[in-house]
Subunit: 463 residues, 4 copies
């Protein structure tokens, strides 16, 4: 709020992230902004010119002029956005500007044989490629943090919770290993998707590059592959103007990543509740009103992203059913949700990297919570141990009653069991005692943790 | 692409509308931008200070200092956005800036007794109020255009179409009257929603304004109403931090508006198909590749909005089920979808005003299309007319066969009927002839159109 | 409807609720089943015949024959479902069966002048009307339970929780009052929606009832109102074959109800966590594996409904943008989601009535949890009380440090404050002591509770 | 499973497909019904017993008793559904019935060491496996039909349509090849998903099979793999009680299939419009009111499925962010949407097989439509051909004007060009004439069709 801050910034930033703390300032935010998208469209136009020159469809000199102009161009995105209203997409005004910039040498080679959708779709894939690079890098950081947490807490017991209630014990290592498995799997799905270039011309037949008389048909047929190579994208089998799997699957994969991170956030939010206190974010956010508060802000923002992503993915999945060679609406409806998904995921991945990198774990609180039910958390185990002596049903009834008694009187389960007076020998009592320790009933959690850690160390395989 | 355009605008516009031609440059876009939201938060803080002064909770002079500071403040929204990451919302940094600006006289009165959510929610309602004003103004324009179209084409016949096939004739007047009814209804729903101020303090109990010893409880209880009046919003029954009907219903109403406009767009897209050609947008968008094209761009962008809005509304409806006194994620997940909905609707309303204001209607094409099936479009009518003479079933069979014959031979239905040789008298044939004119079988379409026009002229009633 | 039709078509119940414990056996389930929908279609056909007779459009005797046949019919819904594939909706086979049953006297009057959509839409509204009656009755039960809870616990303090952390105290009465407000509001919205009959004929012009020569136009124009009255539904302004607000708004209102109930469930799930234990469902579900468990099953099933409802509502909102006089898909896509929403809401309302009617509340646990943070939950209050003596900033810093110290040492906040040694007089200390009692800092929660209870007792007003 | 249980629990079929003509009577409907799901749960219990016997965890004889009982059981699904309300899922009542049926020899071995979720999730995967088998079989039929259509119409020209307007020509072969590519790709995605068994016990640690003292830990660790093999499902890396990628990805893949089929339907709906008439369904559905109608019913029902699927997939994606070792709601919310998706997809695949197998194609109508714009559909080509002689801009302006003139006067483009009088030589005119034939400007459509056909013949590769 210095005087400089008072200067109106112009017609300018419509959305600087004020309502999106999850992604504000993140690398993906910048990589998906209008400036980046505009750059990607220019890169697509440049790649197109180079590809056509490589195939002899435009003179090399003209292509160079386009390439130079595209590199040098610094379009006013706001102006493009406003002029885009005439045709419904930003390519025509961009092409006009680029042609002016390319000069007589290049103007004719600008956007040659292409349709607006070729450029917008290719740019979207270029933006997605860069955003994905940033996202997977953050997911790799998350995975490394989670692997370290899983290893460090391989044998740290805490209450397993189902339908909000203590069930049987588990370990924090297994919990972290589960998070790791989910994140690594979602990351691999995202990383494995092809991001194809788009090139088909007005109706997907490449008629313009093939030439009015079809003389250049052979070159036109090769053009998409060369264009894809120039743009650094995957080669499409066909023009995919209305075959939208690339966008829809990207959306689903991004929503899956948000879901995997949202699972971590959901658990952190539970475990950091005041009454539970088993974990805490390292830099919990304060409150203007309440001096004592330390909020799980990172988890909160990840959870918010996980709530929004599926709806955006649904829009993209819904746009697959699109009519004609270019639909009137289903294509245009993809642009914002795809960017939203990239940003939601990019923001969530950054927050997850911060969250998992600094997560504070409190084994003492886990242990204390395990003891909260007076041993009832191992009632399954104790009932099983007593079954040979008492019969399965009687053992179960005994333990159920004793667990209730232990909770009500605030005594240990073993004490309540003794007070119930079942016909056990001293040796049987002696064998039973250690089994009532909640911390020791974690099944094969440690071995499962090891298994998950080994799998996570083998990228490429399904995990 | 002048040199001025090349100047990087800074950390700059993250989203200037490049991917949103539907709303780029619209009044609602500006009214919902980060700058506008920031202004609304400041207005909320100012209203809070004034309300507290009015109730004696803060000194009048301090409130004035806050009010003055809030009016004068021109915060850097990007800076707020970035600092918002620490607490997960932009209010704490805004409050810090405002307190600095308010000086010693006002600092203590800034954000007094409020929680961040009080300010964000109130600001969201202020932004929604202004956006709604703009949207309903455009919807009123749409309604006026549609009423004019309905009146002008009250008796213009065209094929009624069901499951993509010609059914029986209808009128363009009734079609426009239906659009009008849908738009007017959705507009009234939106306009009728209360937009309440939010004020509850840290956990919704107004404990801080009531004072540490509760001395100011009476004033605290009145505070929300006075605050709402100062802010120009509706008085809430209770703090609604986690009673989110105001946001969810706003979202649903906005999606309903998008749907009503999307209905118009869907029809315009069908009717302006090259083969149908019954309507055209006045300023159809051209194509860079195809000189002859005249695209229904406004309808396309409206259709795109209608595809996105329901998903955003679903996110808001999903956020109603929120835990605690302030949820960890469900609140934060509302911000972007609510703004998206306002913008999608604002853009669609503007486009619909343009579309309906300039829609070109071609009654000749409608008539020509009515004749396409050789009269089969009135087969229902002809069968009914023949039923007394031939029996219902026989009449129906006869007409079915004749309609097929007429289509295959390319002759009029009456001719095919004659050729089928049913036992009719000359008088019966004479009576039948006018009934095979498709243009004359529009039922009570005109009267229904009149009814809809009368209803639309009575705002306030359910329509 | 011959005896052959009565033969069960095969392997019977496709969906008996096995995967839907939330609604299995609920009244709404039965009221929305295929049998009920089939009955509603027959009722619609009967109402149509009666209405036409009333207007002289069909002979009274014929209408009576249709009415009698519709009452007596017991169609095999499986057979109808299978035969519906030919035309894409179940009305044509139903009409065929009904005509056969109505005999020579009535056959001609069956489905006279109507289109399939007239019957399906009217039936859907009839089913919705009955389901809504059942839902609102359960919501009224929920509201009564919540009002009793709010009154009983008007002054029961518990920790207010924001972003999962203790914030400041609130009361269970205010929490229940909030639930009540949300439920009552959503109920009123649902109850206030018009459920119109549908009647327009093939393309919405009522051409068939108006007669081939239009002689009966006046009667045709009155027909929808008379039909609506016969069916017990609201009169439509226009045929609404593609003006889908009635369905979309019903969907949104049902999702809002699910959200309001989901809010209750979300809170119950938090408060009944093992570590929190402030409430419990009366008949918590057991576990096959774990004898000690008592799961919040009702809340779980309500939460599951709240997760599904918004998506179904989004489908309905998306179907508003439908082309032509009857769309190819957008209409058909409404049927299942609308029924799903009625059932999800009906099930959730039933579960909520059980849940709220039997909710066990544990004030002692609430009090114990309030003390968990050593008084930090009232740090806001204590800082405010100290501000006059120490200055606002210093007071805040002192309390922040003391709260941390109290938590770490496990002592009361007042003790930590004393140990910090601020310059306070004995009188000041004496005044401070009661303010550190968490139970006494509930602001105007009680008065807000009273306000909500008064509002809930005034149905009809917005609440 | 006593005889009493066999008594139908009441008013029978709740949902026999009356509102779902898309899936009524389809193989997937039966394979996903409650009876099938119940059977799958029994199969899961039987596989569990066998697996435990194989690892020595239960006696072979006991396992055999369980296996026999599970095979013989014919549970009353309605009864299970109603009893499921107590615990929120149908496994406890099923286990009780099965234990009774297994007798003394087997009762103790029923559901040993498992939790309800192990059985429900495994059953869901078994059901999904069978449904997927049926779906992919139908998709293979669709693909074969489409390959035949693409080959047969490799050189059949029709107007390419973008934003509803004629753009440039394409071929019906390329259109069908695009449909084929989309279907084959979506099919492969669906077929490639692992469908894992679920086994983790109460909290995912396999503690119960490992035994109270952990003696059987090694066997417990191997148990999931052996169980998966017995059930015929994929081996899970970890228990995935709250790692829900298998369900979420299945949902996304099913929605993608619906989208790909929806693309076909969207095109068929456009192309079969009365005014366009380029294709027709072989068995178009009639209308009760309109004798002449032949509706594209299959396409309509597919379109309806494509509108519903994304929302259901979004619910599943949203359930990934689930708290704890078993969430209170997020798991339960998956059941219905997953089944809905299987059924929507199964129904759409069946309808698509019918649709594509019988699609009638009318090359004459395509040709006639190509001529509708007087040659304007090749304006791009003509402008390109004229560019060398006139300059690119002048050529474009000329053609734009001539196309408008041709349309208005109803003459061919070549005539309008001539009348415009550009300075062309006779040779240039002669060369231009054939280029104004719309049918000959299809670029490399044929070669792209060949490429798609080759790719579709290579399953396994990405396509």
């Amino acid at each position: 709020l210095t005087s400089a801050d008072h200067t109106p910034a112009g017609p300018a930033p419509e959305d600087a992230g004020l309502l999106a703390p999850g992604r504000a300032g993140s690398p993906v935010e910048a990589a998906t902004g209008d400036a980046a998208f505009c750059r990607a469209m220019l890169d697509a136009e440049a790649a197109l010119a180079r590809a056509q020159a490589a195939l002899g469809l435009v003179p090399a000199e003209a292509a160079r002029a386009v390439d130079d102009a595209a590199r040098a161009a610094r379009p006013d995105v706001r102006s493009l956005a406003l002029r885009a209203r005439a045709t419904g997409n930003p390519v025509p005004p961009l092409v006009a500007d680029l042609a002016a910039l390319a000069g007589p040498a290049g103007a004719d080679a600008v956007h040659r044989g292409a349709t607006s959708q070729d450029i917008v779709d290719t740019a979207a894939m270029l933006v997605a490629r860069e955003a994905r690079r940033l996202i997977t890098a953050d997911l790799d950081r998350v995975a490394a943090h989670l692997a370290a947490l899983a290893a460090a807490h391989r044998d740290t017991p805490l209450p397993g919770r189902t339908l909000t209630q203590h069930a049987v014990p588990t370990t924090f290592g297994l919990k972290a290993a589960g998070w790791l498995t989910a994140v690594a799997h979602a990351r691999d799905r995202l990383a494995g998707l092809p991001l194809p270039a788009q090139l088909g011309g007005a109706a997907g037949t490449l008629a313009a590059p093939a030439g009015p008389a079809g003389d250049a048909a052979a070159a036109a047929l090769r053009l998409p592959a060369v264009f894809a190579a120039e743009a650094g994208l995957a080669e499409p089998l066909l023009p995919w103007h209305t075959l939208r799997a690339p966008v829809a699957e990207l959306g689903a994969a991004l929503a899956l990543v948000c879901g995997a991170l949202g699972k971590i956030a959901a658990d952190v939010l539970v475990l950091s509740r005041t009454e539970i206190g088993e974990v805490a974010e390292s830099g919990g956010g304060g409150s203007s009103a309440m001096p004592h508060k330390s909020n799980p802000v990172r988890a909160t923002l990840i959870a918010a992203a996980a709530r929004q992503a599926p709806a955006a993915a649904a829009v993209l999945l819904g746009c697959v059913a699109a009519e004609d060679e270019r639909p009137a609406g289903a294509w245009h409806a993809e642009w914002a949700p795809l960017r939203d998904l990239l940003r939601l995921t990019g923001g969530a991945a950054r927050d997850a990297a911060e969250l998992t990198g600094g997560l504070r774990v409190f084994p003492d609180r886990m242990r204390a919570n395990l003891d909260l039910t007076g041993g009832a958390v191992v009632s399954e185990r104790v009932a099983a141990a007593l079954a040979p002596a008492l019969g399965r049903a009687a053992a179960r009834d005994l333990v159920t009653a004793a667990a209730r008694d232990a909770r009500e009187r605030g005594v240990a389960l073993i004490r309540a069991l003794r007070d119930a007076g079942p016909p056990l020998t001293d040796a049987q009592w002696a064998a039973l005692l250690p089994l009532t320790d909640p911390a020791a009933y974690t099944g094969v959690a440690a071995a499962l943790t090891d298994r998950a850690l080994r799998a996570a160390a083998r990228p490429g395989e399904d995990r």
